[in-house]
């Protein structure tokens, strides 16, 4: 069976890979958006923190002997806590300065973290076993669907939608959105904005760690696994519109799928298609698809 001259098997295979990549784009760009919304900082350390999530899972298994499900719970918390320390000790000193200094500082931290991990674990990947409950797959007739990949897509979609719900539909989220608009006024109402900023950064970083754990069984655990990924995610964030929650989720998954299909129809462009889309979006809507004019 073929569609547009391409075997359906290949088409659905790439659709699946696209959705997997899209899950990671969505989780990472969501974290970046949440952080940017409140801190006005583009967190360049995000890719390194994603890598730390994967390493946390690996080390929890190696040192403590706890498997995937525990890692899924513990690793994001650990990575989030390191983020909180980072914010409390360094980032908070920069809020009075130009936002570019935040970008440069987090870039420096990304170099340090990646360098240290590369020194300790080398550049070749370390394997991480797939959880036994999710091995194997389903034969859907037109394609074979590995269980773990289905899990990644469903789980990250659920996390994204939950985050969206908390931010857009709850009281806590209302505080957060208000603080994004006008932190001084919100503080005047008796809400501890600095603590909210710290926790927000920790949460965004935790999301990156979570994405890292999800990625560990699919890709190998590698000190540089987040280094190039984060730049694609930056493009995703620009396309979606910086600071837009739903924008990050939709563009994250959408661009993953577009990238997957490009691999089928025009493989040469698969690495660049997201950047081309970014250029086109910027020409038409400089604030991104879901962004508001600043």
């Amino acid at each position: 069976m073929t569609i547009f001259g391409v075997a359906t098997q290949a088409l659905f295979g790439q659709l699946l890979i696209g959705l997997i990549n899209g899950s990671f784009y969505a989780l990472l760009s969501l974290g970046l958006s949440v952080i940017f919304g409140l801190l006005n900082i583009i967190n360049f350390t995000h890719g390194a923190q994603y890598m730390m999530g994967a390493f946390a899972a690996y080390l929890i298994l190696k040192w403590v002997g706890l498997g995937y499900w525990w890692a899924l719970l513990i690793a994001p918390i650990v990575v989030g806590l390191t983020g909180i320390v980072l914010e409390r000790t360094t980032l908070k000193r920069l809020y009075q300065l130009d936002h570019l200094y935040g970008l440069l500082l987090t870039f420096g931290f990304a170099l340090i973290i990646q360098g240290l991990f590369r020194h300790q674990y080398g550049s070749s990947g370390l394997p991480y076993p797939m959880p036994r409950e999710l091995s194997g797959g389903q034969n859907l007739g037109f394609m074979f669907l590995p269980n773990y990949r289905a899990w990644v897509i469903v789980f990250s979609l659920a996390v994204c939608l939950m985050t969206w719900y908390v931010i857009e539909r709850t009281r806590l989220g209302a505080y957060l959105r208000a603080a994004t608009e006008n932190p001084t006024l919100v503080q005047a109402f008796g809400i501890n904005v600095p603590r909210m900023i710290t926790l927000t950064y920790g949460f965004g970083v935790g999301l990156a760690g979570l994405a890292g754990v999800l990625a560990a069984p699919i890709y190998q655990v590698n000190p540089l696994m987040g280094a190039d990924l984060i730049i694609v995610v930056f493009a995703v964030v620009v396309i979606g519109g910086l600071g837009s929650i739903m924008g990050s989720i939709v563009t994250g998954f959408g661009l993953g799928v577009v990238e997957g299909f490009t691999k089928v129809f025009y493989p040469e462009a698969s690495n660049t298609v997201i950047f081309v889309i970014m250029a086109l979006v910027l020409l038409v809507r400089p604030t991104g698809l879901f962004g508001r004019a600043s």
């Binding site: 900082i41 920069l94 870039f107 420096g108 360098g115 620009v238 910027l282």
Partner: protein, 325 residues
């Protein structure tokens, strides 16, 4: 930190128009040191540092005087390198033509990327330039003429203007020094011209500059293209010096390095990028055998500079001496 220093990127020092005595002295000292240096220090190291110094000066033109942080400047260094290497090796261009062609490639890319990126500011601008740089990187990885992972190797150096034999290291050194000095002075001239004053006005208060009748976007685009062109000049020269154009020069880590050099030397200072480039290149030279530690050291310098040393080496020196350098 007082309100006037370091509050915005690029306002590390108040803008002083014209030529000051301290700068003339500093320029004289720098030139003398660079003329004597090849007889004391390994010339290839010096040439590498000079190419990066010009690259950093070009980058500083944008961040220091327009306040725009480009995180994709490696594109111009790398593409000019490919242009010069390809034209010299495959088309048999003379070195001067190869350098001009490479620089033109970078300038053309500067027009395209600049036109798209210049409409945004601050973090958006950094992000967008980074994304474009990554696009060019993937293009270079796949295109046939760049040689992919291998790059373009054994580029002929040839004879400059049919007179100067560039295969001799010392001749090559003084040609590179001349290129650097010309680039340095042209950038200085651009910054301290009426054009440069308008750029500073736009950096300080864009709406007001527009209301005074300046077309801010055209000025910014011109500054971007100038910066790209000089970065290209550095890249084309570097390709002839090392007889190599490779993916390293287009990768985003190179864009990060030029930010590091300029930040360490002093954003918005005339001599800062030169000092920063020499320090960083020297560091990498000595730390090369330590592998991953190079990245760690670079990261630490970034963190220290941003947290406590925002004026950079030259900016701090100028602050102590109460002079603009």
């Amino acid at each position: 930190m007082t309100a006037t220093t370091g509050q915005y990127v690029g306002t590390a020092l108040p803008a002083v128009a014209g030529v000051s005595i301290s700068r003339v002295v500093a320029f004289f000292l720098m030139t003398t040191a660079l003329v004597v240096a090849p007889f004391v220090v390994y010339p290839v190291f010096l040439m590498k540092a000079l190419c990066f110094a010009l690259f950093a000066c070009a980058f500083n033109l944008l961040i220091g005087y327009v306040g725009l942080l480009s995180f994709g400047h490696a594109v111009f260094l790398g593409s000019a390198g490919y242009g010069a290497a390809h034209s010299a090796k495959v088309w048999g261009f003379a070195p001067e033509l190869a350098i001009v062609f490479g620089t033109a490639v970078a300038a053309a890319l500067g027009v395209v990327i600049g036109a798209l990126a210049i409409r945004s500011k601050g973090i958006y601008f950094a992000n967008i330039t980074l994304a474009f740089a990554q696009m060019v990187y993937f293009f270079s990885l796949q295109a046939a003429f760049t040689g992919g992972e291998d790059g373009i190797q054994s580029v002929p150096r040839g004879t400059l203007l049919g007179v100067l034999n560039l295969r001799e290291t010392l001749t090559l050194y003084f040609v590179v020094l001349a290129i650097f000095l010309v680039g340095f002075l042209l950038i200085y001239r651009a910054i301290h011209s009426p054009f440069g004053q308008v750029l500073k006005a736009i950096r300080e208060n864009e709406p007001r500059a527009i209301s005074l009748g300046y077309r801010a976007e055209q000025y910014k685009l011109l500054a971007f293209v100038l910066s790209a062109t000089f970065a290209g000049l550095a890249g084309a020269t570097k390709a002839l010096v090392f007889q190599l154009a490779s993916l390293t020069d287009v990768h985003w880590t190179m864009s990060g390095e030029v930010v590091l050099m300029t930040l360490l030397g002093g954003l918005g200072t005339v001599f800062g990028p030169v000092v920063g480039a020499f320090v960083v290149v020297a560091l990498e030279n000595y730390l090369a055998q330590l592998g991953a530690w190079v990245t760690v050291v670079q990261g630490v310098i970034f963190v220290v500079c941003v947290l406590t040393f925002r004026r950079g080496i030259v900016g701090e020196l100028g602050h102590i001496l109460r002079k603009s350098l």
